[in-house]
Point group: C2
């Protein structure tokens, strides 16, 4: 095994980590670092009822080993869900249930990548995707994003270049909607371009969509898979942000031969995902509880997003920029290039606030002055205080070493 640590603590000494963890567990510490949904968004009472019913009505099945590919009834409900929410047509045989969508990412890399093979990602991209691709020794080629998402002209240029070097990418991995870490949404035009590139060069296109349902403003944009008439796009979804993460339920939709390989690999990975969790997710969909839960979560998170945007506007020093996401859980702030956000993190933690530094999300390690800020976990007062603390620290750094 030979892969990089991909979190922002990787260069710290154990003693330093221990010191920082002590700060982080102090009362009043504010973390914008985690990728955690707010527990207030968990449908606690509904889950209590569902779990009771699962044990009463399906107990001996729900506590037993299950199919590796996933509970048939759940796959039928997932089919209905993605049709209703993302206009995705699929059949049960194109769906596999995964232990969180993280497992889908690992499977993706394990199935397509031999050591040294190339893949294309956004720059920056999801930290868990970097882990999964790293663990399978993929060579990541990351393409910059702007306010409209990944620059697809650069994707096409990179694809051509790699093909000319006999290093054709094994897949293109995209989080098109409210991207993690930036919160940015890919424009319709660029989505169409990606589908075109995928088809023209015969490179699988992978759409990871954990946040799509959490839209607070703006208009819905068609999913990549719904734009691809050939049904070749591999689509990944999760229950972590629209039910809860603790049951570890995700799914992958893709061509039947890919799903067959994913099923075979899953036998080696964990035999099957929790049968109990699958029954719970099934009833959560079947009873349409998801439909009343999502609007509540949107209400909760929209206010938090607005609070953080306002606080940034009020407190962050000139020269800083940040994304204005229409949904999801994160925004992306960049500060003066003089500041290294990985170094600054230690001071931030001592000041009582945390974020994840930009390079944790950067296959090319070019995000040294950026940070990901989660706005869904903290309370609104905490968001205000946390941004003030962070702004104060940045100002202090800039005073010591004036803006470049």
């Amino acid at each position: 095994m030979d892969f990089r640590f991909s979190d922002s603590l990787r260069n710290m000494k154990p003693s330093e980590i221990r010191e920082l963890l002590k700060y982080a567990s102090t009362k009043g510490f504010i973390s914008f670092g985690g990728g955690m949904p707010n527990p207030a968004s968990f449908p606690m009472e509904d889950l209590r009822k569902i779990m009771e019913d699962v044990l009463s009505d399906y107990g001996s099945l729900a506590l037993q080993y299950g199919n590796t590919v996933g509970l048939n009834d759940l796959r039928t409900e997932i089919k209905r869900l993605v049709k209703e929410t993302e206009n995705i047509s699929s059949s049960e045989s194109e769906i596999i249930v995964t232990s969180g969508s993280q497992q889908g990412l690992y499977e993706l890399a394990k199935i397509f990548v031999n050591p040294g093979d190339t893949v294309i990602t956004e720059e920056p991209t999801y930290i868990g995707a970097i882990s999964a691709f790293d663990a399978n020794l993929a060579e990541m080629h990351s393409i910059p994003i702007d306010d409209n998402g990944i620059k697809t002209d650069l994707v096409e240029a990179e694809v051509k270049k790699l093909i000319s070097q006999n290093k054709k990418p094994k897949f293109i991995y995209i989080i098109p909607t409210f991207q993690n870490p930036t919160g940015i949404t890919l424009s319709l035009e660029r989505r169409k371009h990606l589908v075109e590139i995928s088809s023209r060069y015969e490179i699988p296109l992978v759409e990871d969509n954990p946040y799509g349902e959490l839209r607070y403003s703006g208009k819905k944009i068609a999913s990549l898979r719904s734009l691809d008439p050939s049904g070749q796009v591999i689509y990944m979804g999760t229950f972590s942000k629209v039910m809860c993460p603790g049951l570890r339920m995700g799914y992958t939709i893709g061509p039947e031969d890919f799903i067959a390989k994913a099923n075979l690999l899953k036998q080696a990975l964990d035999l099957s995902s929790s049968t109990f969790s699958q029954y719970v997710a099934w009833l959560y969909l079947k009873r349409d509880i998801i439909k009343k839960q999502i609007p509540k979560t949107i209400e909760l998170y929209r206010k938090k997003r607005d609070t953080m945007l306002t606080a940034l506007e009020q407190h962050f020093p000139e020269g800083s920029t940040w994304s204005k996401p229409d949904g999801g859980m994160f925004l992306w702030a960049s500060v003066d290039k003089k500041i290294n956000t990985t170094d600054m993190l230690k001071d931030a933690v001592r000041e009582g606030v945390a974020y994840v530094s930009g390079n944790a999300f950067s296959p090319a390690r070019v995000q040294g002055n950026s940070m990901r800020l989660n706005f869904t976990f903290s309370g609104e007062n905490e968001i205000l205080t946390g941004i003030e603390r962070l702004a104060g620290l940045i100002e202090k750094k800039l005073t010591v070493s004036p803006p470049s």
Copy 2:
């Protein structure tokens, strides 16, 4: 990705599989094939109460993302459990929670094995271990077992040979107690020899112990890890057979540096195991419910084992042999060498009974006339009927082509 299908259906055409599945779903069909515990062994009412309490008292934590390495309180209880049951000393930092022990097997292979590296296993061995080792392109060297378990003199000879070829094994993988698939238990003397071999040649020894608590006769034998004063043995356990499989809870105990790597890899595999399942397992241990549950399961399974042994004695043709397990879930039957149990499976299914054919468990593919019979899932009448059906089929095959 390039690994073998490792189940006994791998050479069948889809149409053939469909036909057999039709038989298998008929009323009255008896399967000795699965590795499933009997649902009557699930602590249903206790789990109902525990789940209620988890939601009431720890809901917002239990439904949230958790530590990758596992819930601290659960690891403390696992430490207590293995001390009490297997006299294993450990600390929390030597324990990682896994999504079933299958994930532990995958991690083991991924961490130690580069493509083509050698590992040593029993011949036959657990099908899920073969999947996990295959998926990481390990070269398996399987060593025969007899009634006292793996022949450790042959293990040592193989180790020497491989070292002389500059192919030193990356680990030795053993299921010492009520082995899957044979039900055989490794003698104390040979256990000591294995620990010696592991220490002398500096090869990690891996002890997989899913069934250890399910003893129906005979005296307990010390675990490999308890026999190793250096604490280098990697020990794998699971809740699947002493609580239920559907929550997918397992654990690995090993040296801290191994656990650190397993933790890093688990970030890529699934971020964390179900937090909810972990809270349930924690209370199951903490409240000592496991201690009242195991004796019930033993009572239930002992009768089933005895029923199957009696039925084999009565019905199986001369020339057949089978193991007489002191515990666990399986026994291993071998019939006349003329009979290929993979071929015979199709006829067996048509006759209304299933097993897993020997070669599914055989890295060397030398178990063509053997089969694994599960005795825990079926009712006692089903066991009698199923063995009669199987015996009748074997007789028929031998009549067509007389014993060799």
